[in-house]
Symmetry: C2
Subunit: 395 residues, 2 copies
């Protein structure tokens, strides 16, 4: 069977540039080989894109090999042929017997290939704290390659991904459009006696149907819409309860285009709104603006958070000092990039084309109020990718 | 702030029974303490349900403690108060400084609590090959509790979950209804010149809007709808390409209710269908029936697969011997239960109220044809939970 590759989402030259920067970082850290299990990092370097991260799969980058190598489950190898840019000899199917087995582990097979490549005694980087690099995976690797020098390469590629290319920003703008449209639909639909799930159904429809020009991909995190007591917690899922009059809800969602995200959250009051909630909404927006005004190349992440805190802490309780995080491409279970964070102690210096989700939150009587934006650092300041009215919505 | 617990999805007695069986298995294996990181296992034992599995969190079960203990991120602890049944003293917030930090790991904090409980030199089971038990988590645990005897307790709770209670089956039936409705809507919508994402948007809407009686939760895997070359691979995601006339697509989806799944897949031909695809569709259904007819208590998993293979292998290529898997409650990235599988070599003996997703697949010229069902083992045979016409659909 002849398989046609999908149109790549980026020019080949961009994939090669990413690879170049990754190898450079590897060399800086004295690593010869990098075993990548983070699906967003796999996608970044190879273009590979499929819902297969629930089983063992890996991308191998060697400083002295021109192309990366994809190794994954036999039934998924055609997906690599379809979506990844490499020569087909660099796409290796791992036999079914290694999966869901008590006797064998996919890493046994991956390690065998590293050995065949003559690299079993090299310095090998692994993503130690990545979801899909389990303790058993690490133990299997140590067992199979006892002479290898294993090093922690956690988030190494994530840091390469920090500054976005113009094409990446273009996908994030598409994701932002999806997010705005879904937010409109969600706010329109929320009211007393409507079930939470009915709002989310509309939101999901909008996120994926997209526009006439482009459709949406699945976001790495499901939309959330806590209301009532649930706003005391950030990540409780929707149910089929109905919204109550005189309550408020927080709708948090992200569009997704080519795996790139642009999250957005707004707080919506239903009916009569207590004055202090309205006030908190205003102060949240004020703090958001104060923080956005601080953003420009050369400023550090913690300075942004400081601007927010100074404005906000006179108006409500700040539970923590985590104002946001670097955002871009990702897969479930998280859309955050696990690199630079807008918080106290993070001295990452902003550069043009870094992108963040800034999510200011005030706590009033134990409930959270949020108004967030996804923004891009520009040459002179910042530009929000999402463009949606910044206020507390009252239905 | 006073937080109201949500109505529990199961009687307290059921949670206690689950705990009893878990402790019994722990004792059989000589384990004093079990550290659970699988969100479906956490949910099964405590009721805890939130999209927080992307950060460090844990449930601690001790053979000599009456209740389990939930430990997770400070901002998520209220979610445990809302959804988990335990006494509030058994819900412990882990400070923000342990998260997204180079210096500290959430497991440092969890291990500290195990130490405080006086259990740092006990035999402690950990889920070695679970997504959310990373290599770094394991290393942190070993560092923090050097006197503990660590044992592999991978899938220990998954095996306790194998036989479902009537209430669990009831949730799976609700999930099955959602799956059937979404499949109807999807098949209705698929045709030439319609974009893949527009079909998925309708499917998602149906899965979550649900019925007047109940809404749907997010499925652990996004719906898939490969068509054309993509059917050569099982898990490539949708895009905004249009379906082609005279092509075929495989729609695979699951409803989700209270985190319980009932997956369903059907193959849909668009327009003129080559005779051999029609034939393959028939043979897939024939093989499905042959396999379902074999199901009853006392039969082993591999015998079911054998019945399928005998019927099917004369009609097409069988790429592997994996016919299905135990199914129930789960979270992203997988809806499968990682225990009993319908495949060669699996001698698990069927018992009433085990549930499986049986997914027969024939390969024709490198493309896959599927017709699947979710079924429950009954006292005398089996009953499919999903009830949807078993045939190749032609649009």
């Amino acid at each position: 069977m002849f398989i046609t590759k999908r149109t790549f989402r980026f020019h080949l030259s961009e994939y090669r540039e990413r690879l170049y920067h990754t190898k450079k970082k590897m060399q800086d850290k004295g690593m010869d080989v990098l075993l990548i299990t983070d699906p967003a990092n796999m996608n970044y370097l190879t273009g590979y894109d499929a819902w297969t991260f629930y089983v063992g799969q890996i991308v191998v980058v060697s400083v002295d090999e021109e192309e990366p190598m994809w190794i994954g489950r036999d039934q998924d190898a055609n997906g690599a042929h379809i979506t990844a840019w490499m020569n087909e000899k660099n796409i290796i199917p791992c036999p079914e017997e290694y999966y869901h087995s008590d006797q064998k582990h996919p890493m046994d097979f991956f390690a065998k290939l590293v050995h065949l490549m003559g690299k079993s005694n090299r310095t090998i980087g692994v993503e130690m704290d990545m979801y899909y690099f389990t303790a058993a995976t690490y133990e299997a690797l140590k067992r199979a390659l006892p002479s290898a020098k294993l090093r922690n390469a956690n988030a190494l590629v994530n840091w390469v991904r920090l500054v976005k290319s113009d094409q990446e920003i273009a996908y994030m703008r598409m994701a932002a459009t999806l997010a705005e449209n879904a937010m409109s639909v969600g706010i329109e639909k929320i009211e007393a006696d409507v079930r939470e799930n009915d709002v989310i159904a509309e939101v999901y429809h909008e996120l994926i149907a997209g526009t006439d020009a482009f459709g949406g991909d699945y976001p790495a995190v499901a939309p959330l819409i806590p209301s009532g007591d649930d706003t005391s917690s950030l990540h409780v899922s929707w149910s089929d309860r109905k919204f109550h009059a005189n309550d408020f809800a927080i709708l948090k969602l992200s569009g997704c285009s080519a795996r790139y995200h642009a999250p957005l959250s707004r707080t919506i009051a239903i009916g009569e709104t207590p004055e202090k909630i309205k006030e908190a909404g205003k102060h949240c927006v004020e703090g958001l603006h104060a923080a956005l005004d601080t953003v420009k190349p050369g400023v550090t992440c913690e300075e942004i958070e400081y601007a927010w805190r100074q404005t906000a802490e006179k108006h409500g309780v700040l539970k923590d000092t985590f104002l946001g995080y670097s955002i871009g491409s990702n897969y479930p279970p998280d859309w955050g990039s696990h690199t630079a964070n807008l918080r106290q102690g993070d001295r990452t210096v902003l550069q043009p084309n870094m992108t963040f989700h800034m999510i200011p939150r005030l706590w009033i009587d134990g409930s959270g109020i949020e108004v967030s934006e996804t923004f891009q650092v520009t040459e002179t300041g910042c530009e929000t990718l999402t463009d949606f009215e910044r206020r507390l919505f009252v239905k």
